[in-house]
Amino acid sequence: MTDRILEVDNLSVKFGDTTVVDGVSFYLNAGEIVALVGESGSGKSVSALSVLQLLPYPQASHPSGSIVLGGEEMLGASKADLQAIRGGEVGMIFQEPMTSLNPLHTVGKQIGETLRVHKGLTRRESRSKALGLLERVQLPDPNGKLDAYPHQLSGGQRQRVMIAMALANSPKLLIADEPTTALDVTIQASILELLKELNRDMGMAILMISHDLGIVRRMAGRVYVMNNGKVVENGPTEQLFTKPEHTYTNHLLNSRPSGRPAPLLKDNNEIVSAEDLQVGYNIGKGWFGKSEQFIAVQPMSFSVSAGETLAVVGESGSGKTSLGLATLKLIPSSGRICYLGSNIQDLKPAALKNLRRNMQMVFQDPYGSLSPRLTVRDIVAEGLSVHERHLSPAEVDARVVEALEEVGLEASWMSRYPHEFSGGQRQRISLARAQVLRPDFIVLDEPTSALDMSVQSQIVDLLRELQQRHQLAYLFISHDLAVVRALAHRVMVMKEGVVVEQGDAEQLFERPQTAYTQALLDAALLPED
């Protein structure tokens, strides 16, 4: 194959005075799948966006380089030429299917728009073509979905619509910017399958941008590894994965969360348990109408002992977060919740407040869970100001320093604000906030899923270390089986509010009993180790 579709040579991108991409070169042949891999901030998305000149010019500029697409130079191309190429020769799909479709137009109209712009089809023609495309991307009930609005579709269906839009003008090249990051694992697998099929059947080249090495290994023929705006290594996928040459590639490959949880101590006592716990939300309650209940978590029971991690695994909508919130009594529920053997379900607010110091929570979004207006010291010291009011300011400082050092942060960062920290550091601050009260039970709600892979494994190591040192009990909520495997003693698999399988982690990973668990494991692309 010598039919070169895209050749990027020595490309640099500057935002203002900051160089984001520095002398990057890569190429794509027809029918090839090539991946740009890197962590956030490595410049992989910016490189891909500059192919279609989609950067915010004039803040962005290209001091050097050339981008040749199908024989034409893209840098400095006229607006009309660019418009013909975007959505014509080159299609693009984005990470976030929730926001990349216009919520006010039907699916059929949005697909038809590209067809009318680029091919000058009439309304009727574009509708029947759109229907064909929806069939092509295997959307269930394509005829009915033509007149559906984006909010009526699930995340995976929306991504299929996005792909259909990108395919509308049978492009030679598809740029896929983290196409499955926002999706559940089982849906992720089917979307990847679809992309691979399109590549095979239509001979369409795909430029994938991803941080997920599992996906890249499965999809791409060649890989470019990017770090700090530079391509540090490239080569055929198998070679790069088996014999990485650059230290950064090595670091990336070894940064997947690994290891196993520390063995449990003998005769550890039970910290938290629940019996017949059920969570329901009132929906559609009118002034006089009967209130309906949506059951997020069907009656279920579990228990966690000191030093033990119970992982709750499930896809979005499985009720796993509701379960975590209900366990801490942050949302109403029914059934028994016991802390050290006594039921806390009917406690008075004051008694519950005293209990809160022993039961903490760490949230998923490291950007949303820290108040942007408070300093790190104030954030971490908050729990102390509620539960240990007798402490003097100096004693509070000492406790904050202790907690920060325990999670691997520097004491001198106390007076800084959350926005000055990276995602991983923020998650450490969240942990320090929980840890400062010396709780014995922590609910971890997807604490690693918003982080880069190498940061994830650091956080996993930290969680393990804290657990061992303080004999903490974790209720670990996650959809990421790689992380679960590295942390959990026992696993509970949830689907649509029901526990479909639970048991010892080792056993569950080796010999899953239900088809659903098996499907999750298959889709998760776990590394062999």
Partner: protein
Amino acid sequence: MSPINARRIANFRANRRALWSLRIFLVLFVITLCAEMIANDRPIFMVLKGKLFVPMLIDYSETELGGVLPSAADYRDPFVADLISEGLVLWPLIRYSHNTINWDVELPLPHPPDGEHWLGTDSSGNDVLAKLIYGFRLSVLFGLSMTVLASFIGITVGALQGYFGGLTDLIGQRMVEIWTGLPVLFVLIILNSIVEPTFFWMLVTLTLFSWMALTGVVRAEFLRARNFEFVRAARAMGVGNLTIMLRHVLPNAMTAALTYTPFLLNSSIATLTALDFLNLGLPLDYPSLGRLLTQAQANLQAPWLGLSVFATLATMLTLLIFVGEGVRDAFDPRRTIGSTRHD
């Protein structure tokens, strides 16, 4: 000082327009705060026959100064002027107060600007410059106190509605709507015809009808922020409702609220001026810019009246808006100068 305030001040100082506006405004405000020392119809102090008199603060009778009448001394009276001429007398820069009538002025009134009256007189013989100085002080004090009061009420109501939501919000919102629907002007006319308005009466009645400006934005911010993860985190920690509202939610709502306060401040000054202009505001013995405007309208042949009031109001409102914008931007943590990420 906590680092957050240090940073706010640094942010404010980096905004040159706001900084200079604040400096100019403060100079004007301090000058007008001491209006009695600048424009007055009695001396600041005088030493007469070895005795110290402070006429600015204390009313002396003529007999105390060595005259014959037992009534309060009128220092503009030629007889009294004669009495004190031997002593050491410190007069203010402008020898007229806002309500001093200069009987000696050449008719017809209003008298155009000259060496005696730098900005002329109005139609009752009051010095315009003296009136402006006192009027500026009155307007700014009124505006500031009304803004503080109205913000306090508005933010409290909005915060309670937004934070608790549900029925509290439903009822509160309907009450606010009904209250907003009242025809303010008519209510003020009726109220002011029953009670002789004073500064505080005007302050209370106008505040009653202007606190709703902030309720909507604060409510929206609280509704949004109460579901933030850091609020949830605080609840998981056992922090009480009041603390969560004050510590976690309110600071995030303050930028939105502060966006409105410069306008609230300016509109309160403008409303007072407008009511005075319509003769519905403060009574005659207050130095009001609005009343001066009424006179300017009645005496179009005397442009110094209208022009000087216009210049005063325009300067005051512009400076306040610039300062308000600067304060608002300084409170926004996302606008920082020279901040760095540590990755």
